[in-house]
Structures are given as structure tokens and as C-alpha cells.
Symmetry: C2
Subunit: 156 residues, 2 copies
Amino acid sequence: MAEALDTFDRAILDLVQKDCQLKAETIADEVGLSASAVQRRLKRLRDNGVIQAEVAVINRKATSFPMTFIAGMEIERDNYDALARFRQWAEKQPNVQQVYYVTGQVDLIAIITARDVEHYDDISAQLMADNPQIKRMTTNVVLRDVKTGLFIPVEE
Amino acid sequence: MAEALDTFDRAILDLVQKDCQLKAETIADEVGLSASAVQRRLKRLRDNGVIQAEVAVINRKATSFPMTFIAGMEIERDNYDALARFRQWAEKQPNVQQVYYVTGQVDLIAIITARDVEHYDDISAQLMADNPQIKRMTTNVVLRDVKTGLFIPVEE
DNA sequence: AGTGAAAAGATTCACTT
DNA sequence: AAGTGAATCTTTTCACT
């Protein structure tokens, strides 16, 4: 689908991953292209799906869900579509922020936001009730966000 | 610093967390305000730091760092500023995407991007070399992103 | 890829309710 | 605080080089 990214694309992606409201002209000056070339490339990167979304990152402390929990789960591996069903469930849960299917002691790792520990207890109870294919769940309480973001390096 | 968010603020944040390039007029129609009121609130939310950043989310598979690893680490808790020093280090590492300080079996959980397993091995070796306060490190390889994002619910 | 032009939207302002 | 209207800047898309 997406052809390889050239040096200009990577430079543009490096910038918009930090601030996607930058003026095309500012980006153009940084990377050494004209503003319209930057616009064209941004449109192509969006249409290609290289840029999946442009989102506001909000301060967790400003919300009603200031706590974060990281849950490790074991899933019933025998069951063919256990993972697919969990994905569908997670997609609909606003408090389930991220889920990774991993190798190791656990099969799934989820990052979950909650109002407080009681609320997290409710969410995890609901998770187990809605997903019998989840066998076990262990939780780490996040005491501090040391670094957050979704930045992925693109420069070679 | 930040006063409480009202219903309009929350509705706006709910939308811009999914798409921060929405037209002010579109947001206005959704939440029941005028476009200029939406603009004013967005400016205030940005100035307040409630909106911390507006960023492009890119497809990991389109980059040269398509793999993800989740590392659990034990840190020297005796050492007073061991965590602060690790934070400073992590902040400068582009492949270290997220770090959480947690309770439980491990003290730190990091999400790390890498080109391949060899590259991850290099990164983790460098991490241990640069941070002697990290005593032990266990890694989960991400086989699949089940859900990603930084969305935090804001509606009551 | 660059330039220039036209239309649409963002941003900031002053003013009103 | 919210709405309106005006001035200015930026984005977006187009045709053209």
C-alpha cells in the first residue's frame, strides 16, 4: 500500500508527531521544501494511512479519570477467536486506553484509566465478567507518568 | 491553575481527542455553541495546559521501527533520585515511547519501539549501561497492537 | 516540485447581549 | 460568558510551469 517514505516525508513526520498544527510554511522552512509541497505530502501521508489520526493529547489530571492502571492478563489460547472478541470488547471501552498482545508471562497488557481504585475495581470486574476467555489478571497501579506519548522515530 | 471543566469543555475535549483538525463550526454544531465560542474555549484549554499537545499519530508499520516491546524494570529504591535520573534519560531516548512508575512486582514499565529484536537488544543494553540504578529488566514482545491511543474519557 | 490564484477555514479583534 | 461581524492569516485545492 504505502510506498517507502523519503527523507522529506520522514522529516515532516518527525515534526507533526510533536505538533500537527504547525503551519505548512514553518514545516517547509524546516525541511527545505515549498509550503505547497509540504501540503501535498501531508495529504498523501493522510490518505495513505501513514498518518492514522491527528489528536489532542489532554492532561489526565484535568479529567475525572486521573488514575492509570496497567493490567496483565492471561487469555484462553485454545479458543480460536478469544483475542478477536477481546479486541472488539476493548474497542468499545473508553477507559481501556491501550491493549497489547504479547509474549511472556502474560498474554495481554492493557493500560486502563479510572476515576479511583473503586472505579478500577468495577472496570476489572466487568472485564472479567464480559470476557470469560480471560483467565487471570494482575494489576500494577501507576504512581507517576514518567513519559507519555505515541511518538515513533522516523529518521534513519 | 485549571478551573473545573464544564459540560461544553468536556464535549469539545471528547471530540478533539479523536480529531483535532475538526472545523470549529463542526464542533460548534455538535456541542451546541457558536464557532467563536468553541475557538475561545479551545484557546483557553490550550493555554491552561488541559490540551497538552496536538499530534499526528502515525502507523508504526510505515516506519523503520515497526516493533514494540514492553519492559518491566526494578529500580534501586534506596537511591533518592534514581527515578528522576531515569526520567531525564528516558526523555531523551526517541525509542522510549512511554514509561510508568508503578506498584507491584516491577517498579517501572516502559513501552519501547525498535527496528527489530537485535535493535531492541542494543537499546536495552544501553539502558542498563546508562542507568545502573536499574537492577533487573524483563521484556514482553508485542505480537499485535490490539488497541492504541491516548484517549481519556472526559464525559461524566 | 514550484508558483500563483481562489475559496474555505482559523484566528483575533472590537462590540453587543 | 456567549454571539456577531470584520480583518487578517493559513489551509486547501486547483491549474499551470
